[in-house]
């Protein structure tokens, strides 16, 4: 597996991260080492094995669709500076 600068930049872009030149220089050999080592999993035969996304068997747990009290609008906006007219204010979407 060729882990190169282009690939790292593509992954970083997907993850919405802008890496500095210094970070790229530092991360590239580190990520190469990590991902090459982790590819040793390919040596294990898992042909008839189901993946486990949880450590124990958890069935779907559904609750009744009932109205419940929610958090007060003002309380919810306490943790942000970006608000207007009781709404969160975000960057331009379009």
């Amino acid at each position: 597996m060729d882990i190169n600068k282009e690939l790292i930049l593509k992954v970083a872009k997907n993850a919405r991260l802008e890496l500095t030149d210094q970070e790229i220089k530092e991360f590239l050999p580190q990520l190469k080492e990590v991902l090459n080592s982790f590819s040793e999993l390919s040596k294990i035969n898992t042909d008839k094995i189901n993946p486990s996304f949880q450590p124990i068997d958890i069935k779907n747990k559904l609750r009744e669709d009932q109205e419940e009290p929610s958090i007060d609008n003002k309380e919810l906006l306490k943790n942000t500076k970006h608000k207007k007219d009781n709404y969160f204010l975000g960057p331009k979407a379009i």
């Binding site: 993850a15 919405r16 802008e18 970070e23 982790f38 999993l41 189901n50 993946p51 949880q54 958890i58």
Partner: protein
């Protein structure tokens, strides 16, 4: 004073809990100046809670000071998970585990230091502008991580205290081992994750650290139980874990995992743990050496691929709009989001986001993320098979003595990840496990880890009691 005696005295009004809490807070400030165990000391809240307890000294944790890892939300107290991106975040609610402890009279003294979002085994990957906690036995060495502040404070505090920590792949066991205290990781789902700032949802567990086996049992029975707010929490009834403190270990079958004592493990660690196994044998346990070839060989890549995949999606919610770090609102959504994340995540968080995003990307997903999830199945099966024949499995908790900071600086990220060789596997299988302080070498503590089957925490407490 021991925890049990302290709580009894508070309940009997023989201790002025407000006065005691003031003294505790003063000691915390003093310790913190030197060792950096607390990101926040919650003075006002603690005094208010102490006044309430003084009026009504009931509850099984009456007046007991507890610390809470910074990734576990405490209402009205800044909770950052050790990250600059959450600086200033004030939760509107308590995490369920915190609420249950407070309902039993516990007093929250502060939020403990940690690796950013739990991304580390030594508490050296703290977020930007956070201080690294120092080992209570040697300030030039690491506390272990990621619940490093919890481990350090638990050891250093002269007052009765229990810490609430959190573990994804070793974050309770590692600091427990390096700071010489007990650290219990419950079965996945035994304790609600509601209010926990998540790292990897299928791996995260809240659990206690204490100087006494009693403290881990007492806190576990306080915080366990089903929570409708956490769909992964288990409905099974919670027993009395403190009852196991009086049960004898005679007849318990122990499987000693052979690979855990190979050349990668420091000899002094192996010797002390083996001596402890012999002690258990003297007390009536029967042990046999076993091998777990897939588990011990492949748990590190399996764990890191799954944990980073989950982390990289979890961290997508920090977009600088609703809470946490903000930047000036300019550019489009992607530009703004990228700026907030790039300026506020630390290096290890960025590395893990990249590994996790990579393993889930089209073209790589089957070979990395899905493959790891399949190997996880094999690891769970291997453990389950072993636990049919044994009550408890034993390994050292960490393969090394608490490392010096300059030694850690020389490690590459992969070498750093390899230090989780003992702890990653039981976490992948969601098995309960407990790090027990069993001895010292060169004045540095050594931990032994006991692992049991799902919901068999009682057996771990039985074993721990032998060393308390």
């Amino acid at each position: 004073m021991k925890i049990q005696e302290f709580i009894k005295k508070v309940q009997d009004k023989e201790i002025d809990v407000v006065e005691h809490t003031h003294k505790v807070l003063e000691e915390c400030k003093k310790i913190n100046k030197e060792y950096h165990y607390l990101n926040t000391i919650s003075e006002e809240l603690a005094i208010e809670q102490a006044k309430n307890v003084k009026k009504n000294p009931k509850g099984k944790l009456a007046g007991l000071p507890i610390s809470v890892k910074d990734s576990i939300c405490v209402k009205d107290i800044e909770s950052t998970a050790g990250s600059k991106i959450l600086k200033g975040y004030i939760p509107l609610k308590h995490a369920t585990a915190v609420k249950k402890a407070i309902n039993e009279g516990a007093i929250v003294i502060g939020k403990t230091a940690q690796d950013e979002f739990g991304f580390g085994g030594f508490s050296t990957n703290v977020g930007l502008n956070f201080k690294i906690p120092l080992n209570p036995f040697d300030k030039g060495r690491a506390t272990g991580g990621s619940s490093g502040g919890a481990g350090g404070l638990t050891q250093k505090a002269s007052f009765p205290h229990i810490a609430l920590g959190e573990c994804t792949g070793g974050s309770i066991e590692s600091p427990a081992s390096f700071c010489g205290v007990f650290g219990l990781v419950p079965t996945y789902g035994r304790v609600s994750r509601y209010g926990l700032i998540d790292y990897g949802n299928s791996l995260d567990k809240v659990g206690p650290l204490s100087k006494e086996a009693y403290g881990t049992a007492l806190m576990l029975e306080t915080i366990s139980g089903h929570d409708p707010k956490d769909s992964t929490s288990l409905k099974e009834e919670v027993g009395s874990y403190t009852n196991y403190l009086t049960k004898k270990v005679k007849g318990l079958k122990i499987g000693v995992i052979k690979e855990a004592f190979s050349e990668g493990t420091d000899k002094s660690v192996s010797n002390v743990v083996w001596r402890s196994i012999k002690k258990l044998e003297d007390n009536g346990c029967i042990y046999k050496e076993i091998t777990l070839p897939i588990t011990m060989k492949y748990s590190i890549p399996t764990y890191y691929l799954l944990a980073t995949a989950e982390a990289s999606t979890n961290l997508a919610k920090y977009c600088g709009i609703r809470y946490g770090a903000h930047e000036k609102l300019e550019g489009n959504f992607d530009e703004y989001f990228t700026k907030v994340r790039s300026n506020n995540f630390g290096k290890e968080a960025k590395r893990r986001i990249i590994i996790g995003t990579f393993s889930r990307m089209s073209g790589f997903r089957d070979a990395y993320y899905i493959k790891a999830a399949k190997v996880r199945t094999l690891i769970i099966e291997e453990y389950k098979k072993a636990l049919k024949n044994f009550d408890v499995l034993i390994t050292p908790t960490m393969p090394i003595l608490p490392p010096k900071f300059e030694e850690l600086k020389k490690l590459t990220p992969l070498q750093d990840y390899m230090m989780d060789i003992m702890t990653a596997a039981p976490n992948l299988a969601g098995l309960p496990h407990l790090s027990i302080p069993v001895g010292f070498e060169k004045n540095l503590p050594i931990g032994m880890m006991a692992i049991s089957d799902h919901l068999q925490e009682g057996k771990l407490i039985q074993i721990a009691k032998e060393f308390s």
